[in-house]
């Protein structure tokens, strides 16, 4: 838990959106899905990434994995910049960084058997392995994620969602990567299966010394699995802190609203709760508000919020917040989820 595995510095991802009704040579609209995001991931650590839909969580993950072109910033992997590597080098790097997807069934090729699916990364990165070695490794990995190795010749559609996600995890882990990016791995599963998969991920992480980048919009799942949590809003990281610290003591008004929105599994407490609700919608990332992007919905917005873009500043040990007014926010009438009236 000491060495820095990966450092993302001022990463930006911009997509060109062709303008509707425009000519082929009309310059496309620029959509900045991720803007100057910086996160650090230590070896063996789990970093949770939360934010509402459209906040750029998945895009950030894909930029780290390398399936989305980066338009600015650096991704340092053990000190080496991964942005701008040749296609072949990026592919070779895939051995160290693997990904688990949101929709477990869609992430598996319907025409391949489970054995072929799980073996694919192995065959890609270790073409010299003999067939029996591959078979043994696939069987061992299937067992490790809690599937019968005898099921290798089955096809993905013959499995349940939870089993498919286990297959996806097996495929991600077969090359013994150092970082696994989990893009909402449990949000398509039902709650009892969610717990199984989350616990499986935790066990595997402990056994294999993995680092995890765990994306979710469900704060309770993220709190359960993460060491640290980063909160994203409209492509910007607005707050990062240790998991316990962030939940117990959120500084950014958006984080507070996010935590306040977590339902309490008790109707009585839920009804009695004072819950500040965020007004409005996520602004369009095609035309983000000036200055602080959250100011349009922020309960404590000040006139100067429209002028300067807030920097991510350390306010306590390991606790970074991108809001110059977060101290005022502490005084405002906002309370974290734990303090129920």
């Amino acid at each position: 838990m000491s060495n820095i595995l990966m450092q993302v510095e001022n990463l930006s991802v911009t997509f060109g959106i062709p303008r509707r009704g425009g000519w082929p040579w009309t310059p496309p609209d620029q959509l900045q899905a991720v803007s100057n995001a910086s996160v650090t991931l230590k070896e063996g650590e789990t970093l949770g990434l939360v934010g509402e839909s459209g906040s750029g969580k998945s895009t950030l993950a894909r930029a780290i994995v390398g399936t989305v072109p980066v338009s600015g910033g650096r991704v340092l992997w053990k000190g080496k910049d991964m942005v701008g590597l040749s296609a072949a080098e990026t592919r070779a790097h895939g051995r160290h960084v693997q990904m688990v997807f949101q929709d477990p069934l869609a992430a598996l090729n319907p025409r391949m058997t489970v054995g072929q699916v799980v073996a694919e990364p192995l065959v890609t990165h270790f073409p010299d392995l003999s067939k029996s070695e591959v078979r043994d490794k696939v069987g061992a990995m299937m067992e490790r994620v809690g599937l019968l190795p005898a099921l290798v010749n089955r096809y993905p559609h013959e499995f349940s969602g939870g089993q498919c996600q286990r297959i996806g995890i097996a495929r991600a882990l077969i090359t013994e990567p150092e970082l696994v990016v989990c893009d909402e791995p449990v949000s398509a599963l039902d709650v009892s299966v969610q717990a199984q998969v989350v616990n499986l991920l935790q066990d595997l992480q402990r056994d294999m010394g993995l680092s995890l980048l765990f994306i979710a919009h469900d704060l309770s799942v993220v709190r359960h699995i993460s060491n640290r949590i980063a909160v994203m809003y409209l492509g910007r990281i607005v707050e990062t802190a240790e998991a316990g610290e962030l939940i117990a003591n959120p500084r950014h008004p958006y984080t507070k609203a996010l935590i306040a929105s977590v339902p309490i599994p008790s109707p009585k407490a839920e009804r009695a709760r004072h819950r500040p609700v965020l007004e409005g919608e996520l602004p369009s990332p095609l035309a983000p508000p000036s200055g602080c992007v959250f100011r349009t919905r922020c309960p404590i917005a000040q006139p100067d919020c429209a002028e300067v873009r807030p920097e991510l500043l350390e306010v306590a040990d390991g606790h970074m917040v991108a809001c110059p007014h977060h101290d005022d926010a502490a005084n405002a009438d906002q309370q974290p989820a734990e303090s129920v009236n």
């Binding site: 592919r91 051995r95 929709d103 992430a107 090729n109 025409r111 058997t113 694919e120 067939k131 591959v134």
Partner: protein, 305 residues
């Protein structure tokens, strides 16, 4: 693809459970469809006819029965005694042997055309769709340009300039048959490319051509096979039209189109069998292909029903 498949075969332990692939499911659904199975049986019979016909025909397809010549309308009728089971053509050649020969040519033209379309069109479309952007634009504009050329005119020119031969016919058909297939394959690839399993392969570090072969093409095949079975009859019609114009295969070789053309010219003489026999095979085969294609579509894509 083969490597992983071979590995998966190896993976089959003695106690490994055998999975039901989507192909196996589709096969079951196909064989439950009576019209499709009927079409398949008809096609098999026509294929059998083309294959073993030459060995059972008492006459050769270019041999002239001099005893019939000049009185074809009376002596050239279909009969078991003379050995002309389907009658003779206006020159006294045995129509059974000629129909067998025409069936061979027509089926070959249809299957070769569809085969070229499947191979070239699928890969062309998959590459264009997978890489997207500028590559896609250039590749698909080439298809557009080729499509905008009136192909019948080009084929007729080809046959006139380079002489009538089977090779020219195949080249002409090959030139046009893959265009539609490329478009279909590209469209399908565009949706497949955004599927998560393709992204998973990209993230894993699988090379682009391996992804096309292993992940894109097998998932395209359903659509491609259906389209190919419908392409075979259209190629046969295409060739028949060329032959009907008198530009297709060269005498003494023949094809369904040439036979139908010949037969329709002789209708006034009361020798209807010359038209009806090749027409029967033509129609029956086309129906067979359409039913099989329909059945395949329902079997491979049950959601569309």
């Amino acid at each position: 693809m083969l490597a992983t498949r071979a590995i998966a075969d190896q993976l089959a332990h003695k106690d490994a459970v055998k999975g039901r692939s989507l192909w196996a499911d589709a096969r079951t659904r196909f064989f439950r469809n009576k019209a499709a199975v009927g079409g398949l049986i008809v096609l098999l019979l026509v294929g059998l006819f083309a294959l073993i016909g030459p060995f059972i025909a008492p006459w050769d397809y270019e041999e002239i029965d001099w005893s019939v010549l000049g009185r074809v309308a009376e002596a050239g009728r279909p009969s078991l005694e003379t050995g002309h089971w389907f009658g003779t053509d206006p020159l006294g050649r045995d129509l059974f042997a000629r129909t067998v020969q025409g069936t061979q040519i027509s089926l070959m033209v249809g299957i070769v055309g569809a085969f070229i379309a499947v191979i070239v069109g699928t890969f062309y479309g998959a590459v264009a769709g997978y890489f997207g952007g500028r590559v896609d634009n250039v590749m698909m504009r080439i298809v557009d340009v080729l499509m905008s050329i009136p192909y019948m005119f080009v084929l007729i020119l080809l046959l006139v300039v380079f002489g009538r031969s089977m090779l020219m016919l195949f080249i002409g058909i090959g030139l046009v048959s893959w265009l539609d297939m490329a478009r279909i394959a590209r469209g399908q690839t565009l949706t497949l490319r955004n599927k998560e399993f393709v992204e998973a392969a990209v993230a894993t570090g699988v090379g682009p051509f391996t992804i096309i072969l292993r992940h894109i093409v097998p998932n395209l095949l359903g659509v491609v096979i259906v389209y190919a079975t419908l392409l075979v009859p259209s190629m046969i019609i295409y060739e028949s039209f060329i032959s009907f114009l008198g530009l297709g295969v060269q005498e003494p070789l023949t094809s369904w189109g040439a036979l139908i053309s010949e037969g329709s010219g002789e209708m006034v003489n009361g020798t209807l069998w010359m038209l009806l026999v090749p027409l029967f095979f033509f129609v029956v085969t086309l129906f067979g292909f359409f039913f099989v294609g329909d059945g395949l579509r329902d079997a491979l894509d049950p959601k569309d029903r």
